[in-house]
Chain length 124, copies 2
């Protein structure tokens, strides 16, 4: 029994919101024990909680805003397109990944893969 689509939608919305204005601890709490993170796809797969925490801790303290562009949910999994803008002084660096997540029955994230490349980051 996969998580309910509406539950998955809530978790995706919450994830995008927390990447914008939450703490790494709050983000890590959305992940199941034993979850994996591959961001971007092709980089090292993080499979332990400390590694995942350290990955998101890199975002702590940065001024960011995020926006969910669109989400598709099927078979207990989600693919979603979102934007992350990071503000550094006068500059804003915007990256717009497509993330794919799987979930356990409780709606905790069991895997995340982020599809983006250098070409998908712009600064203005």
């Amino acid at each position: 029994m996969a998580a309910d689509p509406e539950r998955i939608r809530e978790v995706v919305n919450r994830y995008v919101e927390l990447v914008g204005s939450g703490t790494s601890e709050e983000i890590v709490a959305l992940y199941a024990e034993g979850a994996t993170v591959e961001d971007p796809v092709g980089s090292e797969v993080l499979s332990d909680r400390d590694g995942i925490r350290a990955f998101y801790a890199g975002l702590d303290g940065l001024e960011k805003d995020t926006r969910l562009v669109t989400v598709r949910i099927a078979g207990g999994a989600a693919a979603f397109h979102f934007e992350v803008g990071t503000h550094v002084g006068e500059q804003t660096y915007t990256v717009t990944p497509i993330d794919v997540m799987t979930f356990d029955d409780d709606g905790l994230i069991t895997s995340m893969k982020a599809f983006w490349g250098d070409a998908d980051m712009v600064s203005a």
Copy 2:
């Protein structure tokens, strides 16, 4: 050695174009031997060429148009959002999936997963 990002981009563009106006044979030719298709995610995974051919043959003869909305390429894989409009009489049924594909070194598709649900189809 994964396929080159530019090669992957070409194949994704060609795939979307062929879903719109190609034949099932032309689409199947983009797939590697042993490729898998899961469309939508959560449905039966097709893992033989005849099954994949039969899946796309269901589209033959329908009047369709397609549009690639956006594509992200990373680690020899792609995630892309596209639209398929199918015209039946006065009606147009539009479905807007996010597909995830992996590729072999030659840029042939080794797997396809399509993320969409009933909520992502509209008729007008």
